[in-house]
Symmetry: C2
Subunit: 331 residues, 2 copies
């Protein structure tokens, strides 16, 4: 397969969405840097519109439809979280009706946020019903189903977060880390890094208990999870990556796995040190950084993509169930 | 009593600490503004050095000693939280040894943070022992006890947060809200507002269960709590305000009390909407804003001082024990 997304696509996406998304700041923790002896830069996409990097890809995908399709009647998406809000928000920006499919078990706060952006929400029991609807939608002119990751415009949009982050850093990074759900964020990161920081390592991160991308890379073919994951990193429980993202994911410099305990550990520590409300999927990457730094013999500069900050109360209780702040992170 | 702190003192403080403290950003939540029909601006002092506005007053107090005292051998403070870290941090900035008194029950993370800034920490059982030490310290030349609020330099330093916030706002605010512990932050806010936003209301906020400032204002004299407070707003459980701060506190336009349940409610909602890790004492003010807005008949612009973001794991569990995000805040 030829590479379907180029750096110039990311640049186009950046221009196209500039008026709608936020150039989020980079954060550092002096104490963490002191403890580790390296410099870690955190790109705070939790402060992005709709509270996650997904706003970038969602915005660019919807805007591209508006710009290129002869008629856009309605957009559709299925998601239990950030992608739902991103498509709902982007559709309202460009005055397009949206229908979002969410599982009946979705939390009240995520449901409300999606409705607040003006979308029609359909609650489903069985994901198979939605797959049928998706096929029907894609056959109707003017109706568009927007994938959360396996879509060229979505990947280009997500890549803009990495372009910004590299530009904001005082030096070219030695390594870049991002969580992997379906792989859209990480694919965009890879494309941006190859242009702007060609010597930087690009490293993907997954929970041990939701390691479908890691398994796909090992097997050399897309390999879904055996059973649905209940990982505390709820943003990256994705069952299966896509054929477009797989082409990028298999080129990563490394792919690292993180235990549930360490995800909880770093979520507490990064909330505490950065004073940011960030998701477990975001903090998870910091454990991969920690593992990677243990192998380094000189001070490094790394960038961590904090993917989002939409967390319901039940998850906050799960994150803070035990005190992880008694053990200071040192190398 | 003549007013001991003037606006020019705040300006001097601002210049003196500019190289050390952060000009923290203002945040807004579009969704909250939509729900309430008003514009709320949040000054994010949780992103300040040491994680709280206390860095400002601590820095200015220590720097003033360095600049004005003939000899500075050592600085001292008693605190179970942010003031301890602020003095320890500021002392290290100006190369002065520091001794911090903390109760034996202090959390490991707060103890560690204070030690990390290089201070000698003395753990005490009984606060009366510390009062004896405080008197002795104040009689020794070159040794200085730094009050967390009843100190002119501290008040001037805290006031710089309000100067910045008013300058950052697109319009002059209609009202300014801050939590009241000992009253240093609020006194500084009052002084700044009288110069920069003379028509703005300045409103202090306390927990119902730690209402010593409110009671002092009602009684016309400093009135301590009957019993120590266990309010969830641990940053403002202060037993008694000071004689310097009382002069300002009694001039406030209003003083509002907030229930424990509402403190928890707004802490969850502001963490969720702003994506910031903020203390209960910070979020508490938002309930006073909500009460105040209910009395208004036209759209208002208000500023809320988010005082800090140092929260231990036990407090995070207490904050998130029940799901407050089911009930959306609307007027």
């Amino acid at each position: 397969m030829s590479k379907p997304v180029n750096y110039s696509d990311l640049e186009q996406a950046r221009t196209a969405i500039a008026d709608y998304v936020i150039e989020t700041p980079l954060f550092q923790s002096r104490r963490l840097n002191d403890w580790l002896g390296h410099e870690i830069f955190f790109k705070a996409e939790n402060l992005q519109r709709v509270g996650a990097f997904k706003a970038r890809g969602g915005c660019y995908a919807v805007r591209s439809l508006r710009a290129n399709a002869s008629s856009v009647e309605r957009v559709y998406a299925r998601s239990l979280g950030n992608h739902a809000q991103a498509v709902a928000w982007a559709a309202r920006l460009f005055d397009i009706p949206a229908t979002i499919y969410m599982p009946k078990t979705v939390s009240a706060v995520k449901l409300q946020a999606t409705k607040d952006y003006g979308a029609d929400v359909v609650l489903y029991d069985d994901i198979k019903e939605v797959s049928v609807v998706e096929k029907e939608v894609n056959e109707r002119p003017g109706h568009f189903w927007i994938s959360p990751f396996n879509d060229k415009a979505v990947i280009a949009g997500q890549g803009t977060a990495t372009i910004e982050a590299i530009e904001q850093m005082p030096d070219v990074p030695d390594a870049l880390f991002a969580p992997c759900g379906g792989g859209g964020l990480l694919s965009g990161m890879w494309i941006a890094a190859r242009e702007l920081a060609p010597n930087a390592q690009v490293i993907g991160v997954e929970p041990e208990t939701a390691n479908d991308a890691w398994r796909s890379i090992q097997a050399g073919k897309i390999t879904p999870l055996d059973t649905p994951s209940d990982s505390i990193a709820d943003g990256v429980r994705t069952y299966e990556i896509g054929d477009i993202t797989f082409e990028y994911l298999k080129q990563m410099d490394d792919f690292m796995l993180v235990s549930e305990q360490r995800i909880m550990y770093w979520t507490q520590w990064l909330q505490h040190l950065l004073k940011l409300h960030i998701e477990t999927a975001s903090a998870m990457s910091m454990d991969a950084v920690y593992q990677w730094l243990q192998q380094q013999s000189s001070p490094k500069k790394v960038m961590v993509m904090l993917s989002g900050g939409n967390i319901d109360a039940a998850m906050m209780r799960r994150i803070w169930a035990e005190d992880q702040l008694q053990e200071i992170p040192r190398l």
